[in-house]
Symmetry: C2
Subunit: 475 residues, 2 copies
Amino acid sequence: MKKNTLPDIKTQFSEWYLEVIAAAELSDQAPVRGCMVIRPYGYAIWEQIQKNLDERIKAQGYQNAAFPLLIPQSFINKEKEHVEGFAPEIAVVTHAGGDQLEEPLVIRPTSETMIHHMFSKWVHSWRDLPLKLNQWCSVVRWEKRSRPFLRTTEFWWHECHAAHATYEQAKQDIEQAHFGVYKKVLEDILAIPVISGKKTQSEMFAGATATYTHEAIMQDGKALQSATSHLLAPAFAEQFGISFQDETGTQAYPTLSSWGATTRLIGALIMVHGDQKGLILPPRIAPIQVMIVPIAKAETKEAVMQACENIHEQLKNKDIRVHIHNDDQSTPGAKFYYTELRGIPLRIEIGEKEARAQQATLANRVDGSKNVIAMSEITMAVQNKLEEIQQQLFDRALAMQQAYITDEDKLSEFGPRIDGSSGVAKTGWCGSKECEAQTKQYKMTIRCTLESQKHAHCCVCGKPSITDCIMAKSY
Amino acid sequence: MKKNTLPDIKTQFSEWYLEVIAAAELSDQAPVRGCMVIRPYGYAIWEQIQKNLDERIKAQGYQNAAFPLLIPQSFINKEKEHVEGFAPEIAVVTHAGGDQLEEPLVIRPTSETMIHHMFSKWVHSWRDLPLKLNQWCSVVRWEKRSRPFLRTTEFWWHECHAAHATYEQAKQDIEQAHFGVYKKVLEDILAIPVISGKKTQSEMFAGATATYTHEAIMQDGKALQSATSHLLAPAFAEQFGISFQDETGTQAYPTLSSWGATTRLIGALIMVHGDQKGLILPPRIAPIQVMIVPIAKAETKEAVMQACENIHEQLKNKDIRVHIHNDDQSTPGAKFYYTELRGIPLRIEIGEKEARAQQATLANRVDGSKNVIAMSEITMAVQNKLEEIQQQLFDRALAMQQAYITDEDKLSEFGPRIDGSSGVAKTGWCGSKECEAQTKQYKMTIRCTLESQKHAHCCVCGKPSITDCIMAKSY
């Protein structure tokens, strides 16, 4: 039996993270700096995330399309704040087809500029609005320091882009996206509780007038920005010449918006739910929800395998994603290890005794508890157990998140403490960039501002607070 | 009512093709030379193709994964024939993150080199084989002359890559892919009959020892290579250092293979099935299989819409992809035009008379025939009609293909004739490059060699033929 040799999750979280990814074969380092290969098991998780997002994106009236990965450099330069934000991270194609290009092309770091150019060809009248498109693709942003899934030079994502007749319609659509799609997928499917709010001016998307974020708290107390949605500055529509005739016959600029979520979500799943034995995947997202492990000697093998296949058939008929670990070369212990490391939420053990008694043992990956179930009740028992595990993971993650959050009054008090260990401060802020900049000395940032307000004073300058906010270290 | 103003499909096929794409909003020209944007309706067709391929690819034991789009230039240079084939088409990234790169990076024209590099890290023992991976992505090959879907600088595809312990296993797997996956999807789903065979040495994939192809015949008599599968030269495994210990403990090189199909399939659908009114999509691939068109005056609108929604509900419950064209601004004529142009295979018309009589009129897009059906039998009638249209399209395409193919003996006779108009010659070939090169003077190539042999002599030199082959002009 292969022993679990993962680094200690409490004291070596960062090493644990990298080792889980390698051992569970989620990704591998590519031969290009900062790039990763997503291996089949990691990609299967991404496909589940895609499926959940894609159906909700379409339900909100967005249609999928595909835009070129190469963007003329002049496009990127059109919107002043956009270019300032992205120029340092850009990869440039200077030669193609054996010749030097007249104008260099940039590999998309995001597709606003390309899509806005096309919008200008497609939008003429109020009848063309809203125009709502989505793209699944990869983008490239040159990273000095990479970490698999969390920060890679190339990453995979969906990017939604829309043009709306009015600011109010754009705002309503982007809030529906942020809360109706992202929050639901994060909390209900990935079992990751989030703190939702807005980015400050200095943390906004380059060229946005408002950036909504969901911040998830990892087991080490750091925040991870898990999905963002943007209302874009009027400059985009003006620079790209997107205008339309409204119902009164007047020429007007639409309000543009965009929202995106990336393969970083796989990193969030690992860091929120994993434990010393490896990954733990919430049932609604797990590519394999149930692993059936036969435990048989040569003379009992037939009866045991028969029982396994019966269960497999029954569960498959109920659309449960189930596999039998029937590799003859592995011991039962190795199969348990394999199943645990990969975070498969439910294991069914069938030995000779179980096969004879028409029973099966269900083992819960989260708490290790076991139940013996009559074969006749297996489908219902598995369905219930998967729902139970889903809820259990959310509750556990919420308790973990809540334990990290403390109400704070003074940066000079909580700053050193959080810097020295970990934590998430809920506090007041006067809204000034100067006070925001003070958080940096403790390696923190304002992760988001909050809707509700409870703190009267700015935690830095002590002047009246204009908004509560969350401060934390982050990935 | 908007009039159909498509160019004449018989005399202006090429203009007709471009205009159908524009009018049906399948794709648009991108602001980067040779690149296209795939618009929502075109992308919805691609999603249907993806779904059909993806489930069959997985059923053959391939797993999806994602590899970087940037490849070190030295990788491309490793395999001699591969670099000769792809060097002239490559786009090169020389700068990134504000600096010049030490080694230029190439945007993948295909991923053999990147994936083989990773295989060398993952393959050690016969237990690791076969290793079978698939990737959905876009690739870039610099094109001097582009045509939407058929030949674009960036195109979208799937690419399967595998390593097998033996040549025989590789051959068996690639033949299963080529005939079990591609031929089935082409003929059974896309309703496109194909001529299947192998590419000659000079038309093979750069670095292959055998390339299998399916050639489809377009309405203008030109061939379109519609999917290819390759057994790769041993040099790939050697150059990338992929070796394994076989069951006897001996170090061996695996046989590598790859297979791919692209967004070109959308071009094939247009050119095989379309007619003077626009696109015609086979029901099994159509994003919208049935369009319900209400025909009502203000006073009858409620009853008509109620009938439409009843049918919509019933068909949706049977997983039929159905829409109601309920845009109040359009006349019934405009709705018919819209539905025909987009190639929606079945139209259901509901007027006041139909609503009152509890009937509906089904209109077949292929032959324009109409049937009046009792509302109570609508689901079954629609299912049958869709199957009928699927078969009708295949039969029609097969008859068209067969009418173009003629058995020929002498290139000097059929060459000028095909060059001057169109046609597909089935003939004999001695196997020499010199004779093959003679086809060029008539703008033809050997599209593929065939399994069965009927022609005794080479159509060029008159010496004994070693294989029958198909010669035609092509896209």
